[in-house]
């Protein structure tokens, strides 16, 4: 066991973790952040995506201890100001949510993309979510939602 400290969705957090514990396990079991989903446990599906210093990572493959000193974001961050993020609005409006199991991971990948690239084209969007599987939507409405949200974010600037 060791104590790690990191910023979780903007708040300083310290927890005790086992040496071999995954970040996925620590977030879900110790911190009750169940928006981070397990779909495969071996880095193949992306439902467990979190942002580590704003870059998407599979939390099932990330050791919790690696979060020490880092900035960790889960989907809760997007609405932490009390209003929905344009991406969340756009996901709802564009029909990008079916079963919703992939949704938090998709939103985080999209958020990370828009931080780096305010004006992504279709290809950029496809690539940004290519490590995240969705069995329901065929990705099309997710991609539309990201495109629409990018437009709105641009106007907000």
């Amino acid at each position: 066991m060791k104590t790690i400290s990191f910023v979780l969705n903007g708040k300083k957090t310290s927890i005790e973790v086992d040496d071999n514990e995954t970040l996925l396990g620590a977030l879900r079991e110790r911190l009750g952040i169940t928006s981070v989903k397990e779909g495969c446990g071996i880095g193949e599906c992306g439902t467990c995506t979190v942002l580590v210093d704003d870059e998407p990572h599979y939390s099932c493959l990330t050791l919790a201890s690696k979060a020490n000193g880092r900035d960790i974001k889960t989907v809760e961050y997007l609405s932490s100001s009390g209003v929905l993020h344009p991406l969340q609005e756009a996901f709802i409006k564009s029909g990008a949510v079916q079963c919703g199991y992939c949704t938090p991971g998709m939103l985080l990948c999209a958020y990370s993309l828009l931080l780096k690239n305010a004006d992504p084209d279709a290809r950029d969007i496809k690539e940004a979510i290519s490590g995240n599987l969705c069995r329901c939507t065929g990705y099309i409405q997710i991609e539309e939602a990201i495109k629409n949200a990018a437009e709105i974010c641009k106007c907000d600037r």
């Binding site: 071996i42 029909g95 949510v97 079963c99 329901c136 939507t137 065929g138």
Partner: protein
């Protein structure tokens, strides 16, 4: 008006916030974790089970076997034939033998690895052709599960008078549902002493009854709740974790949670049936179909699940959506020691679409006809007779879907070598085949003056909750969505049947309309429509007890004739045409679906965004079916060797919604969930032929298979 509007899905907000409680997220204080010990052999007698090491592990609470089942150790959606826990014999690799309950997941899983099982192997019946000849019986009644025939006219005579005959065989493989959320649930005993199970499921009332039989308690003492469900596609129709959870709760008297790993989900759950299809098609010089003869042989695994359903549905859909005067279909399902094949989006029809659509293209080629023209010529339309001689009296918009595609088809231009275009058509009977499959619901008010809809329909992500609310609002003539939805709980709803067979919009939608009609009459009498506020009506009514209005609908069908399957097995059919452009790299064998035009006659689109979502998702699954997905028994255990389409594999899709209203449906609606997938693989295969000259008759056409076929073609 709510019908036809893109009303925001009622479940979307919680899902984008990350607060939706999926089955994987459910917790209770003092809960235990259970997991299943599974057979490592495909077919064996169990000689000895040693659980002492597992029981000795600190934190292990119970190890349960079939002997601990107080009721009947058999389940099954159609017939009760599959043991919850194996008794002395296992019939597929992954079959459940024991349930290990521990204080943590880690302990339970570790203990399950410590169980020592001694097997004596039996002959592994690895395919249906071996099964039909082998003296080894998988089930006592023999290895043939089901044989269904469709006989219309005289196929022999039809071929005699044919100008052209095309005969080929096709085959498909196991497909995993691969919902992103694996099977999971939680159970506990409530203050009344009832067993409660909340799980990821497509049918709560069915599971309630199965748990009651397992535990030998009255169904009224079982409550099943649908947790937010991360996809279903047919795989969460059978009992998955629910029975084991209930059994563990029964014995430990503590809350018990269960979550399948991805590996377990691959190993333990049902698959799409691999079908072997011999197909003979005859036509006249002008392209009119004269006769079709089909021989279907399916691998159903060792237990029935939905094997009989798929056997029959594949048979009655075998001709595709065309008028064929002479039809002979033999559809047979054999037991094997492969995984149990069950329900998966389309129930055998996507497999048949591969065959009938390939055949039609070959006929067209032989007589020099355009693939679109031959489809138009033979398309079922209003007044047509189907293969079961059902007269299509109502909604039958196949021609309209073909016309929707026509401008794109006529304007198609190949983009250099490796570029090709293909068509696929389908029809699909909405609801179960030739049997009663009713749905019920009820409506009431809250004392505060809101309408309350009690629905047993499981929304598995396709959006039925929203669609049913839209139907109810319009049926009541409401201007705002002033409805509270009480859903997915056997304690508070009536049986709506399964979320399967694309039936919920049509059948449960009609049940909602039925209840709404009664509520409307009541509201009329109370002066609601002449301006009296609902609040006042409810306040007054609350004194006497708020009224309840039941709704019910069972689609009118007739049972198929046992010898010929003639009859009207479905009350209505959906129709669709897909056109797909592919690009094949002839050196590497990589096929990419580039663009899809998908036209669907849905009767009436209650929610256009939802309909499109189904079409896009169906296309994705069709791309997987055609090009990459293959479960290999004994090998596949993760997404490492089971490939799902990613965003990079998806074609551009243009959805074309055709509305030929169905008078027996809610506001004219039919269904779209399965139709969206059915013609897609066929369209891809036809496009590959157009692009390369190579006809692929076996799915998936993955890189290796396609490359090999292209090389062979070059040599020939």
């Amino acid at each position: 008006m709510f019908i036809g509007q893109d009303i925001t899905r009622v479940d979307a907000l919680d899902k984008v916030l990350g607060t939706a409680a999926f089955a994987h997220d459910l917790k209770k204080n003092t809960m235990l974790f259970a997991c299943v010990v599974r057979s490592s052999r495909p077919h064996a007698m169990i000689r000895k089970i040693d659980t002492s090491a597992a029981l000795a592990l600190d934190g292990v609470v119970k190890v349960l076997s079939h002997k601990d089942i107080p009721g009947e150790n058999l389940f099954g959606a159609i017939k009760k034939d599959q043991p919850f826990l194996a008794e002395g014999r296992v019939r597929f690799k992954g079959e459940a033998i024991l349930v290990v309950v521990g204080v943590t997941e880690e302990i339970a899983r570790k203990a399950s690895g410590l169980v020592d099982i001694e097997y004596e192997d039996l002959e592994y019946i690895s395919d249906p052709f071996l099964s039909m000849r082998s003296p080894t019986l998988i089930q006592d009644g023999g290895n043939l599960l089901s044989h269904r025939k469709v006989i219309k006219g005289d196929a022999g005579k039809g071929f005699e008078s044919s100008y052209v005959i095309v005969e080929n065989t096709y085959s498909t493989t196991w497909i995993d549902h691969a919902y992103m959320e694996t099977e999971a649930g939680i159970g506990y005993t409530d203050e009344r002493g009832h067993i409660v199970v909340a799980s990821s499921t497509q049918n709560i009332h069915y599971k309630m009854k199965e748990i009651a039989r397992l535990l030998a308690i009255p169904p009224e003492q079982v409550r099943v709740v649908q947790a937010t469900t991360g996809g279903g596609f047919g795989g969460k129709l059978d009992v998955t974790v629910e029975g084991y959870i209930a059994l563990a709760v029964y014995h430990t008297k503590r809350p018990v949670v269960m979550r399948y790993t991805r590996e377990e989900s691959f190993l333990g759950q049902t698959k799409r049936h691999p079908l072997y299809i011999e197909y003979k098609t005859g036509a006249e010089k002008d392209g009119s179909l004269t006769a079709v003869e089909v021989n279907i042989i399916g691998d159903t695994g060792p237990y029935i699940s939905y094997g009989e359903t798929v056997c029959l549905r594949a048979a009655v859909h075998a001709t595709g959506p065309y008028e064929v005067p002479n039809v002979l279909v033999n559809s047979r399902m054999f037991y094997t020691n492969n995984p149990v094949s069950g329900a998966m989006r389309g129930f055998g029809v996507p497999q048949l679409a591969l065959a009938h659509e390939s055949q039609l293209d070959e006929i067209a080629q032989r007589i020099g006809m355009d693939p679109l023209d031959i489809r138009m010529k033979n398309a079922l339309k209003r007044g047509s007779l189907t293969a079961t001689s059902q007269v299509l009296n109502h909604s039958a918009g196949l021609l309209e879907t073909l016309k929707g595609i026509e401008p794109f088809w006529r304007a198609r231009r190949k983009q250099g070598p490796g570029s090709g275009f293909g068509l696929g058509c389908m029809y699909y009977g909405i609801g179960n085949t030739g049997i009663s499959n009713p749905s019920s619901c009820y409506l009431t008010f809250t004392p505060e003056g809101r309408v309350e809809m009690h629905s047993g329909v499981c929304d598995i992500g396709q959006g039925s909750d929203t669609v049913l609310l839209q139907i109810l609002c319009d049926a009541l003539g409401m201007e705002e969505m002033g409805i509270d939805l009480v859903r997915g709980d056997t304690d508070t709803s009536l049986d709506a049947g399964s979320t399967s067979a694309s039936r919920q919009t049509y059948i449960s939608g009609m049940a909602v309309c039925d209840a709404a009609q009664k509520m409307r009459e009541y509201l009329e009498g109370q002066g609601y429509y002449s301006g009296k506020p609902l609040k006042d009506i409810c306040r007054e009514a609350a004194e006497k007890g708020l009224p309840v209005f039941n709704g019910h609908f069972d689609p009118p069908t007739t049972a198929p004739d046992p010898e010929t399957s003639q009859g009207a097995p479905y009350a209505t059919y959906a129709f669709a045409t897909h056109m797909t452009e592919v690009h094949v790299d002839e050196v590497t064998g990589v096929c990419k679906a580039v663009k899809v035009h998908a036209a669907h006659d849905v009767g009436r689109a209650i929610n256009v965004s939802n309909v499109k979502g189904q079409i896009y998702g169906g296309v994705a699954m069709g791309v997987g079916l055609a090009l990459m997905e293959e479960f290999v028994p004994g090998k596949t255990e993760s997404f490492d060797n089971y490939y799902l389409p990613t965003s990079m594999d998806m074609p551009e899709v243009e959805a074309i919604v055709v509305e030929d209203p169905e008078p027996t449906g809610p506001f004219g609606a039919k269904g779209v969930g399965e139709p969206a997938l059915i013609p897609q693989a066929a369209a891809i295969v036809n496009a590959i032929k157009d692009a390369t000259g190579v006809r692929m008759r076996r799915l998936p056409c993955d890189i290796e298979r396609l490359k090999l076929a292209l090389e062979k073609n070059k040599i020939e």
